[in-house]
Symmetry: C2
């Protein structure tokens, strides 16, 4: 009909204008929709106002890709190339975009001797006074149980390889589980407190800071991120160490006689909160500052210790050296423990898990059922480890599951196999769950009980 009024050519022009107009209108609407979504909610003073904004931005995007957005995505891919900053696809995202350009720290004066902090000589007195003033924060939770803080951590940067962070995550879950069962608090560090003491030395400033900030803590338990608990039932024999200030896994002969650099392991150790420990940290630290000091110290350690390869000074070798060279000063308060695996080298443990399950039970803590399986050398957060990757990761999964089974059994589950992420029931649920026997006694263990004197 329009043809007759306006003529065919004009009608077609008109129809084309109409069509284009519809497309233009659609684009306009969608642009507004996108802008509203991406601008966020702006500033609002009341929850009601907040909510309006929530509603507007939220239900356009939440859930399974509501219609307007799907159309928009298609538009985006078919029109000009979108800036990658608007991409919702994690696979396309370059993580390096998140790294803020940060200046190097100002170099310290190399002639100034390194110090962990101002010298403190009366910490036992300061701490004792504080404990007296603060009976609500006792350093012993019951007669046999000191207050313990387990300290671990990792870099604030994503791991250099994709699976590294996944294993760090499993490792901290593992520690959370053990510590919850045993009434131990956890501190996960991701801050480099002192740039000079980067890498394995970073634990020293951190430990000192935590001891001084938490006088209620009796023992600080340092544990590497590549160490996992594999005996959830083993309680550390605290009474054994009542006259000791430092407990590490190791052998007296290997340290004091052989001066072997792996005569002890600093990947899992207990340090009492006292003046002696502050002094030890001060004596331990000097080989740590990175650069010339650490490099030169490394050469000394390689020369002085048995079988040590050539590399910069590490905290473990330095501890061996410290104990050997200043034995009279430190040894009487150091316990080198080898009757259970406060640290257990993974290489000799992981292939025996099935054997352990067949022959033994949790609670032994030693070679029969190791307290800790420590994946030294695997370095899953880096690019390159000291062992084949497949072996490391498979064994870390097995160790994790071996420990996790002891947690799951409290709830009537277990992993389908030591290699499997999946779980299966070990018993049916009951309508009287509190009558079900707690086989390992981990649900409500005696050592978790806090008995402090009541106050009003």
């Amino acid at each position: 009909m329009l043809d007759r009024i306006f003529g065919t050519r004009r009608t077609r022009q008109f129809q084309r204008i109409l069509r284009n107009g519809k497309v233009t209108l659609l684009c306009l609407v969608l642009t507004i929709v996108v802008l509203r979504g991406n601008l966020g909610a702006g500033k609002f003073g009341t929850p009601e106002q907040d909510f309006k904004e929530i509603r507007e931005t939220f239900y356009q995007y939440r859930g399974k890709r509501a219609e307007p957005r799907r159309v928009l995505e298609e538009l985006q891919t078919t029109t000009e190339q979108t800036a990658s900053s608007t991409s919702n696809n994690y696979a396309e995202f370059d993580i390096n975009k998140l790294f803020v350009d940060e200046e190097e720290d100002v170099k310290k004066n190399p002639n100034e001797p390194y110090s962990l902090g101002p010298k403190i000589s009366d910490w036992d007195e300061q701490r004792g006074e504080w404990l007296k003033q603060n009976p609500n924060f006792p350093n012993f939770l019951n007669a046999n149980k000191p207050r313990v803080l387990l300290v671990t951590g990792s870099s604030p940067k994503p791991c250099e390889n994709p699976v590294g962070d996944h294993y760090l995550l499993k490792s901290i879950k593992n520690k959370i589980d053990y510590c919850r069962v045993h009434g131990i608090e956890v501190f996960y560090n991701m801050a480099l407190l002192d740039a000079e003491m980067a890498g394995f030395w970073a634990k020293l400033p951190l430990i000192r800071k935590l001891l001084l900030s938490h006088p209620e803590v009796e023992f600080l338990w340092w544990m590497d991120s590549d160490a996992m608990f594999t005996d959830m039932a083993f309680e550390v024999p605290w009474e054994r160490y009542k006259d000791k200030n430092l407990v590490l896994h190791g052998w007296n002969e290997m340290v004091y006689d052989q001066k072997n650099w792996i005569g002890l392991n600093t990947g899992s150790f207990l340090l009492r909160n006292c003046q002696w420990s502050l002094d030890l940290l001060d004596a331990w630290a000097p080989m740590g500052p990175k650069g010339k000091i650490r490099d030169e110290a490394g050469k000394i350690l390689t020369r002085e210790l048995k079988d040590r390869p050539v590399f910069e000074a590490d905290d473990q070798s330095a501890m061996v050296w410290l104990l050997v060279s200043q034995k009279d000063k430190w040894a009487s308060k150091v316990y080198l423990e080898n009757h259970y695996y406060l640290h257990g080298y993974w290489g000799i443990l992981v292939d025996r898990y099935e054997e352990m399950i067949a022959s033994y039970h949790p609670g032994l803590g030693d070679h029969r059922w190791p307290l800790v399986t420590h994946f030294v050398g695997c370095k899953p957060c880096g690019k390159f480890g000291d062992y084949p990757v497949e072996r490391c990761l498979k064994q870390m999964d097995r160790a994790f599951n071996f420990g996790d089974n002891q947690i799951l059994q409290m709830y009537g589950f277990t992993h389908k196999s030591l290699a499997s992420r999946r779980v299966k029931r070990t018993r049916n649920d009951s309508s009287n769950p509190l009558e079900v026997k707690d086989e390992l006694g981990l649900l409500h263990p005696a050592y978790k009980v806090t008995k402090v004197s009541s106050s009003s």
Copy 2:
């Protein structure tokens, strides 16, 4: 000279044999070295024997790539292609090799109605009796403070994208910090207890299992892995909920009047350990079983609730529907809290952090300083989120640092900026650390004190 004795051709043959022989010998030696390293330690009975094996395997590989191994690596790259299972390079490793082929679960009878477990009708009595028998595991830590278990978790598989696990790690560190300060225990779940209730529904079987296994727990606090604490000083007002059994962030009008699917949020909520809660879980669960039930239930929810997009039934929509359709049964014990951000939608919070720092202080918990910033829709563990990746990750870093600063300030540090992983000092160390003012009172807060009656 050999020429003259044996002739040129034979001499050359002989020389060639010698050369090949040397190479053969070298290969043989190196093969033995590698085999010894890779076979591990085998079985040993005593720590001394363990140690010998440690020494042999250990110092060949630990440290900065000792010589024999470097030669071996070069040989490996230049000779035939090595099996990737021996590679020490994480970048070359295909994570899928670790996935055990696992069969699908046997499908349940679709006609059999879903059940979270055997019906329990006397849980208050069972639990009350248990608490009486176990005074060492009280459900209140002091007059105002119930025993709380914070429950969170993630998939046992690595995230589909490289950075996902790193953000899960930061998120759990964040939760560990808040909970340590507030005397709350943490349970990190990585087990799928019921394959029918996968995805967002997995929390239901888990919550039920934990309530029934831990009668000492008064409140279970579920928190999504994409939610972070941003007010480390805010203590939940437990007395406000003394007559309530379920506390969620939300608005009464939006739920009961509008039936809006985002009228409440199930990403962070409190559930009391009692019969009412078991009944609620039973009433909540039926829309969850994956497949036909969940899909059909999704359609019902989209139809019945305001503004809900089309997708399978989710636990949050189902909760709205449950409260609306059975209001008389549940509402009197449900508290929809909006005076602080028990859940805080990230979109309206993250751009205001600097403003908050300038104008307010921790401890408020609300829009001025939100208790929780919840990154709904970001899905950093998946391939594709509902928002641009860069915005999500940058803001998650900022939220993490915003919360982390409140932890670090206890120790005299802070992040260099909300975007920076690095930290700087806010004060010099002191030789009298216990006299330093604890600005936010987080080091030894009153609400963390456990006051239980003493026993012998």
